[in-house]
């Protein structure tokens, strides 16, 4: 029954994907002389369609949940609107495409140069050959490694002043909701994606595998940002980042602004915060934002204002 349903959904999606690509994308690529990118465009079309379905489902399911179990009463819909734009730009693939176009040639050049010195980058399967036979296990191993890297990169975003100048944009949302996950400065995205691309090269993550990991994890990341008074219970809180766990990280004065510059950095698995003593499991749902916003510091309301102010903060770190 379940197999039949899965197979039906997969086939329907494949038909939709094929139809959109063949009638809408491929002819345009061919006319523009960009047929060489057909395979990347095919994957991009899938990314777009999955994103569109995902955003619709998030809006319905998480939207209703936020109405029923809110962590805080939110009145300023205007403040959330810009987060919707960030979500669309990311999840429908526009910003990932931009990052791919900027980063892929650099990574390929580096990889190609290594090959000319007879260096073929290592991959996880070299050390653990059994991963060749189990895509699920392989997916899980790569997920854990990338989440571990994400934990340390996230700590760096808070501890390196230059990087915080950009990442603070993400924390400046005082009406945090499931739309807020992708609210990032473009340069912040570029640095993060560049770091992940290097790690992927070092451990041999295939591009298709990387995209699957991104798609699979971003629903959890949307949930962790949701305005929900929800924790995963005594054991669950140690297993997966919950709305409570991550809201505490965003909490003004408590989450990301402590003496050691914060707690609860994990993106998916809180175990990293437990291991490196940055976890806080206090059952508390503080208001979100950055302390200096209380003194009137402006982080911008619209997309371009936020991007511009982020660049200004970056310059001020160099030239205080």
């Amino acid at each position: 029954m379940f197999d039949a349903l899965t197979s039906f959904v997969t086939e329907q999606f494949a038909a939709l994907h094929g139809h959109v690509f063949e009638t809408g994308v491929l002819p345009v690529l061919h006319e523009l002389g960009l047929g060489g990118y057909a395979e990347q465009a095919f994957d991009g079309t899938e990314f777009f369609l999955i994103g569109a379905i995902e955003v619709t489902m998030l809006a319905v399911v998480f939207g209703l949940l936020e109405k029923w179990y809110p962590a805080e009463v939110q009145s300023d819909d205007g403040a959330k609107r810009v987060d919707v734009i960030y979500t669309m730009l990311h999840r429908l693939g526009f910003i990932p495409l931009l990052m791919f176009l900027l980063l892929a040639p650099v990574v390929d050049k580096l990889d190609g140069a290594l090959r000319m010195h007879d260096i073929i980058p290592w991959k996880l399967e070299d050390a653990l050959p059994f991963l060749n036979d189990s895509p699920w296990l392989s997916f899980f191993f790569y997920l854990v490694i990338l989440d571990f890297v994400a934990y340390w990169l996230h700590r760096a975003q808070h501890q390196i002043n230059l990087w915080w100048a950009l990442h603070s944009l993400h924390h400046s949302q005082r009406q945090m909701s499931f739309w807020s996950d992708d609210r990032n400065h473009l340069l912040d995205d570029f640095v993060m994606d560049g770091a992940f691309a290097l790690v992927a090269l070092l451990i041999g993550v295939a591009p298709a595998q990387f995209v699957t990991i991104v798609i699979a994890t971003r629903v959890i990341e949307s949930l962790s940002h949701a305005n929900l008074k929800v924790s995963f219970g005594r054991i669950g809180e140690y297993l997966l980042v919950s709305p409570r766990f991550h809201r505490f990280h965003h909490g003004i004065g408590v989450g990301h602004e402590g003496v050691t510059r914060g707690v609860n950095f994990a993106v998916l698995f809180p175990i990293w915060d437990v291991l490196f003593r940055t976890a806080n499991f206090e059952n508390n749902y503080p208001p979100t934002g950055i302390r200096d916003q209380l003194d009137g510091k402006e982080y911008g309301r619209g997309f371009w204002a936020q991007q511009w102010l982020g660049l200004q903060r970056l310059v001020h770190v160099f030239l205080p």
Binding site: G36, R115, A206
Partner: protein, 324 residues
Amino acid sequence: MNFRLLKSIVILGLAAAFNLHSMSSHAEVVVVLNSGEGTVSLIDKTTMVETKRFPVGKEPHHLMATPDDRFLIVANATSNELVFLDPLTGEVKRRVDKISDPYQIGFSPDKKWFVSVSLRLDRIDIYNGADFSLIKRLLAPKAPSHVGFNGDSSLAFITLQDSNELAAFDLNTQSLKWKMPVGKMPAGVWLTPDDKYALIGMTGEDYVQVIDWRTQKTVKKITTGKGAHNFLPMGDGNRLLVSNRVSNTVNIIDQSTLAVIDTIDVPGGPDCMELTKDGKQLWVTSRWIKKVTIVDMVTKKIVKQIPVGKSPHGIYFASHAARK
């Protein structure tokens, strides 16, 4: 102990084992590479049903038999390895690692050289055809795509997809011999049986470019369909199939007249092909719809479409038409 029961179980077991053995020795398998999900689909050629799908490595695009036909080589581009399968059962027999980004692969006709083309990294590798030891790695910008060889195995012809060129590499000196401009996005390479012309599928155009490779002159453009991509000979030493990924057709080209003699509709981005020995059935990977399409070559109608994995690319079965 109930010996009668035990005896019955043993007899039934032996019968079942014999039955399985006889089934496996009769049921021919079709091997399909699902490049987008890193798996191999095995299809029962008689029943036309996918019987198994298993992980093989990262980005398996192309496959070919070893010169002795004992193994089927799957090139896993991102895994940097070759996987050797039993061509009759699809079972994994061994892996050869340290093969850099093998996107397209080919043995020279004299079996001396094994050439691996790295589309993503602008490289071609020339290996010893006997033991896969690397002889030379060469720069081949931009986006080397497919490979073909001349009759005496002295040259490997490589299409350069992004710079719109055809390159000829001298295999004996392992160096670039010449390059010439061709149409947009050249892909498949095929040498005519008289070794006179190189036929190039122009995926960015709607034709096959015919090149006199000795003089490096274009002698003809055979109009096919949009997205002319890959070739497969029909085994009679004359007719040649070409898949057109954008127009969703397959053409039959007469190599003696260098003209299209028939057109078959094959939906879903037809890419790699395999033809039965009797020439009656054509199996095609339909890249964009996760299916393998089977065409009756007598009626030119679709017999069946079989769902497989994401982005099916290479396809093979043992009882195929001769590669001529």
